[in-house]
């Protein structure tokens, strides 16, 4: 018999705390993935997952049964992850920028010496890690908005709702993120 999330939520609201377990087990991995993408940190992502499920439990009476629990808890997790990145000390973000800059320089050197074949494949993997470093050089809002739009395929209005912002602010953040990332890509290409 298929697990019914709405029934589980009703059971939780009727005092059966154990019914929440199935919801936690089902959605933990997806929440971890998005939390890690936003925070870029394992420990933070783990804490975001815990915090999201705890907040979700506390807000469960306001859950609208028209929506899916997965979408609802996902938004809460995005919000928690974004809050966490915003609460970071400035030197933590500055550290991320420095890592990204150093890695970009190394990348430029490697790209310049690159030849075809397995080395190219390795470079493509290196490129992916470069992109992640570049992402973490963005502001928390730019990074979160861009990831949700570009990787998680959420619409601007969905992102705005998750981050409790206006769609226009989200649009602007995505725009700035893309501009910065394009500049970085251009600088990498210039050295190829």
């Amino acid at each position: 018999m298929e697990f019914n999330e709405h029934s589980a939520i009703r059971a939780v609201l009727s005092g059966d705390t154990e019914a929440y377990r199935a919801l936690v087990v089902r959605h933990s991995q997806a929440l971890y993935r998005v939390a890690f993408r936003i925070t870029g940190n394992e420990a933070d992502a783990d804490e975001v997952v815990q915090e999201a499920f705890l907040r979700g439990y506390q807000r469960l009476p306001s859950f609208q049964f028209r929506a899916g629990f997965g979408t609802w808890i996902y938004r809460i997790a995005v919000n928690c992850a974004f809050d966490r990145t915003q609460r970071r000390r400035p030197d933590e973000d500055q550290g991320a920028v420095e890592i990204a800059d150093g890695a970009a320089e190394r990348m430029q050197e490697q790209v310049a010496d690159a030849s075809a074949g397995p080395e190219r494949l390795l470079l493509s993997k290196e490129m992916a890690s470069q992109q992640q470093f570049a992402l973490h050089a963005l502001t928390p809002l730019e990074r979160t908005a861009f990831l949700l739009r570009h990787v998680e395929d959420q619409s601007t209005s969905e992102i705005a709702e998750a981050l409790t912002m206006s769609p226009n602010a989200v649009k602007q953040a995505i725009f700035r993120a893309i501009q910065k990332l394009r500049r970085r890509l251009a600088s990498l290409r210039g050295n190829r």
């Binding site: 705390t17 089902r26 992109q131 570009h150 601007t156 890509l185």
Partner: protein, 277 residues
């Protein structure tokens, strides 16, 4: 010709542009914008951090991860109190509806009493059943109420007997619904009984009525408690209610009253007042 901005082309690429058709037509005519859009599309594709690339840098969380999260979370979750049943009508209708229902129910009881009186008269003539015959010794109204209320007492007795077995009571999902039905009846019988008792008190003939009044009075809080418990009752709650409301004592009283009424014992109702029940 108006050229579109980079921001607008980004929206276009994500399929969120309001004037998509107009932009598409513009692209077909403007080589400059077409080149810009092609470059943008290339960059966005390069930024496409697909699952494979992302998983390169992402620490893996296996299937057991959810259980681990749950273990960390479990102790932080306070159970929600059991929810009260939803009203079928808005709260502001309550008083009006109650009054209306009260009048309707009272009218039904009076009709029932009148019908019972009519048939009890006929039975008196035909069969001279003991419990009806007893009506001749006391106030007729009180006897009729006893006749009508007999079924109510019988059902209440069964309910209280069920509470003596908490496992059986906990498994009975109709328990609270039965209590609610009995509660409505009990209120009506109390009113009728009190009315006839006060009339009988004037001629000092209402001993049994006084006893019935007391039992119906005592029955009410038990039924109220049972009827208003949110959700199904579990064994522990039934045990608590049994102890707090002394349902065992009440059950005994109802049995004694019921048997005396059925036996036509003249002093049946007085036993409790004398302290023998």
């Amino acid at each position: 010709m108006r050229h579109f901005s980079e921001e607008e082309w980004i929206e276009y690429q994500y399929g969120e542009s309001g004037d998509r058709e107009q932009m598409r037509q513009h692209l077909a005519q403007c080589a400059e914008c077409a080149a810009q859009v092609a470059a943008l599309a290339g960059d966005l594709a390069e930024m496409q951090l697909d699952e494979l690339n992302l998983s390169e840098g992402e620490p893996h969380r296996g299937k057991e991860y959810g259980e681990k999260v749950w273990r960390g979370l479990q102790s932080l979750l306070a159970p929600y109190p059991r929810q009260k049943r939803r009203r079928l009508w808005p709260a502001q209708w309550n008083s009006g509806l109650r009054i209306g229902l009260g009048f309707a129910s009272a009218a039904m009881v009076l009709a029932a009493i009148a019908t019972a009186a009519f048939y009890s008269g006929r039975l008196w003539e035909q069969k001279r059943a003991p419990q009806i015959a007893e009506a001749n010794h006391g106030p007729a109204g009180q006897r009729i109420i006893l006749f009508v209320v007999d079924d109510h007492l019988d059902r209440s007795q069964k309910l209280l007997a069920e509470l003596n077995d908490p496992d059986e009571a906990a498994a009975d999902h109709r328990l609270q619904a039965t209590a609610r039905e009995l509660l409505t009846e009990n209120r009506l019988y109390r009113q009728s009984s009190a009315h006839t008792s006060s009339a009988g008190a004037q001629d000092n003939t209402s001993v049994e009525g006084a006893s019935l009044d007391t039992i119906l009075d005592d029955l009410e809080p038990v039924l109220v408690e049972l009827a208003n418990q949110p959700g199904d009752l579990d064994r522990a709650e039934i045990m608590r209610l049994r102890k707090e409301l002394n349902t065992g004592g009440l059950l005994f009283e109802i049995r004694v009253l019921g048997s005396r009424v059925r036996e036509g014992e003249p002093n049946g109702g007085n036993a409790r007042q004398n302290g023998t029940v």
